[in-house]
Point group: C2
Chain length 460, copies 2
């Protein structure tokens, strides 16, 4: 188990206790997750908040921080001789806990009474694992359906404040995750070819992932039907003339996520029509990144990417009219019905368990209702230390085009007739992970082929 | 989604309703399982009982069978226009249900009232997913901790009866799962080499798995420390002179599991010492398989494998004394502290969610308390149509040897002094999946290299 220094974890916990001020902070670890019966489990994934404050990447642990007394305890079982026989020699919980600066461990059995006996407020985060919901219900007497609203907003806010700013040690881990992700993407570009099944190419992504001892940070999207945004099906045969969206990322050993998208032509080169749209998306991506620095509102960057889209589409004759008007009305949502990006860290959508609005919005900054902008997960002003994704895309979704056309939506701006020729186009998305530095930005990781020339070079 | 014919599913459901006789049979499907937040999920896995009776491999479904009226309903949401926009065009729940012989679908919202209003007994299976525990608690008013004991033993028994006997269609699926698994194993034998990290070889296993569009049926065991039985760590460097246990299997598109073990020398050939133990394990495996036919008690086959072990160890001077006496006392448990095998089908430990004793034991056949035999999951008489694993192993577990030695256990039989020379040996296991035919057996799938010569041939 790779860990940061004990000092790092101790400092994070001290900052949290100080910020919360008083009461008991309860941080639940994740247990094993059953797949088709109790003992056949999915790959183990620790809770990201637990990882951030306690570091220990194993099931069966919970932690408390007493904001009044300062006391810090990890609850978990010590090893038995049977554990050693079946799972091999390993450090004790006590030894492990010392490595993250915790000097008191107790049996899991003593936690419920401790919570019951505590006189002040017990702060907990919104649970997303159902076993943890059952535990909180039993321990705190709160109905399962009320646990979300009873979670401590104070605790959520301070955890978000801390986790939003990535330290140098975290950035190094995130660079590693992006670099493994980059190897996955290069392998996929090389392996893509007419006549292959999508899952044959996906198998090369998994090979690279596991070659570096990593796990997926989210389910692989690799599809010749990239216009279908939530597409985890890999059963299509790659046909000549199609383009494939590969949105896949590695989670490194310490739990940090990479999240990269590249778009690959099934032919060895992009067609002229594909190149026009590809260059437009690439321009949206690089121009958005060039704007990044502390203080800029990410909502404005999203809108600027849309502005580039609408200008480009005006030149192609797919839309007509005043770009600023179209931007205000949300015409671009038809072609990019998702947000420009999100925070990334220990989670691919960082801290999504704590609530998107706590992470990406702030008081006075309300969520839009427009298609596209309403899905923007990160809208607020950026700060140095944030890491976020920049992932513009252009999609021609036949069902959505048909729907808008039938509703006669924005007929004064959208050239539905000309759009017919794009209904079998598919989609293009390009995505990188970017750190906000004190005065500008840094794209994380080694460069991953991105221009038309760079992508085509790997297809030779 | 690949499905058997509607007739097959209808017949299974009819048999179940008839066997249970009266009351409402409730079969819960699995939903998506959250990894690090609600919307970042593990790979989807449907519940095996739901797959067996309803076939539909997607989240959000539950089914009821009314044993009195005969009525059959699937509860789930119909597609919205948003679903089609985001997830692509797809058949409706109604269309899908017809394909498995169900002509009535209802909204999930109507299920709780249906259960509440039902006058007779509601039969349900023991839940293992925590979200399903929460649902059953809400719908039936049974405390979460009591759901296991309140599950219908009648329903469990009849589901076990049906699922235990594999049909010809199921066998074809299981052969496919074993064949994909075989490709994974061959790739691992070829890739194993001194100086590589375990996960580098594991990456080849994943590549083959996904190349065939399959998923893991259980977490990969690939370890140069095969003596540690529950070992999912892949971070060791493969050192000259070690042997590696590869216990890994594919789950094919219809959900059927393969479960194969091979043992690979890190050097290009086995050493003389390794060969002696390897040949002994191979003899245990092939001799056990040769005994298989309807009517034989699998407990006896397990004991026979132990007999071969003890005879072989007598010849090697590792044990001494009367083999039958040692067998009765359980001396062999030190070297093979697990059972010879288990049922396999839609689950790698088939129907383990329904309770191991319901699947592998019967009235009058009690579980042993001896190390090894107590872990035997399948002990009962075999029947034509059963598919099971045969997986003998020999391990030298330093911690266990030390424990027995310190307790002076079986000192009259075990040559602890001579065992010292084996403490760095590791472990060997060989496993195949075998169908019980009307008069003997059939090893499923294409042959996977198993003899010393066959394994070494792939290392050339």
């Amino acid at each position: 188990m790779k860990l940061f220094s004990a000092q790092i974890y101790s400092e994070r916990r001290s900052q949290l206790k100080k910020a919360v001020g008083s009461g008991l902070i309860l941080l639940l670890g994740n247990d094993e997750a059953p797949m088709n019966y109790t003992d056949n489990t999915f790959r183990y994934r620790q809770d990201s908040n637990f990882l951030y404050f306690f570091g220990l990447n194993q099931p069966g642990l919970n932690g408390i921080l007493d904001a009044d007394s300062g006391e810090e305890i990890i609850f978990g079982n010590e090893l038995t001789i049977d554990d050693i026989i079946w799972a091999g020699p390993q450090p004790s919980l006590n030894e492990l806990s010392r490595k993250v600066g915790i000097y008191r461990t107790e049996s899991p059995a003593s936690l419920p009474a401790k919570l019951k006996d505590f006189k002040g407020k017990v702060h907990f985060l919104p649970p997303y694992r159902f076993d943890n919901k059952i535990k909180l219900n039993e321990w705190l007497g709160i109905p399962v359906s009320k646990l979300g609203e009873e979670a401590s907003v104070l605790l959520i806010k301070f955890v978000v404040d801390l986790r939003s700013i990535k330290s140098a040690e975290e950035i190094a881990e995130m660079e590693e995750a992006v670099n493994i992700t980059g190897e996955m993407h290069k392998a996929a570009i090389v392996a893509t070819a007419e006549g292959k099944m999508e899952y044959e190419v996906v198998s090369r992504i998994y090979e690279k992932l596991h070659f570096y001892g990593a796990e997926l940070s989210y389910p692989v999207i690799f599809s010749a039907n990239g216009q279908t945004l939530h597409n985890h099906y890999h059963g299509n045969k790659l046909a000549a003339g199609r383009i494939v969206i590969n949105d896949s990322g590695a989670e490194n050993a310490m739990g940090y996520a990479g999240d990269i998208t590249r778009t690959i032509p099934v032919n060895k080169t992009f067609s002229q029509k594909q190149k026009e749209i590809y260059e437009l998306v690439l321009n949206m991506e690089t121009s958005s990144i060039a704007l990044l620095k502390p203080g800029i509102q990410y909502r404005d960057v999203h809108l600027d990417a849309n502005r580039i889209l609408l200008k480009g589409f005006s030149e192609l004759g797919l839309v007509k009219g005043d770009v600023e008007e179209m931007l205000q009305l949300g015409v671009g949502g038809l072609f990019m019905p998702h947000g420009l990006g999100h925070m990334i860290g220990l989670d691919v959508h960082d801290m999504e368990d704590l609530g998107e609005n706590h992470v990406g919005y702030r008081e006075g900054l309300e969520r839009s209702k427009q298609l596209g902008l309403k899905s923007l997960r990160l809208a607020r002003e950026l700060e140095a230390g944030f890491v976020l994704t920049v992932e513009p895309g252009i999609y021609f979704i036949p069902e959505l085009i048909e729907q808008w056309k039938a509703e006669q939506k924005f007929t004064e701006f959208i050239n539905y007739e000309k759009l017919e020729a794009y209904k079998d186009f598919g989609g293009i998305r390009i995505e990188d992970n970017v750190l906000i530095t004190p005065d500008s930005f840094k794209i994380l990781g080694n460069p991953i082929p991105k221009t038309v020339e760079e992508v085509e070079a790997l297809r030779a």
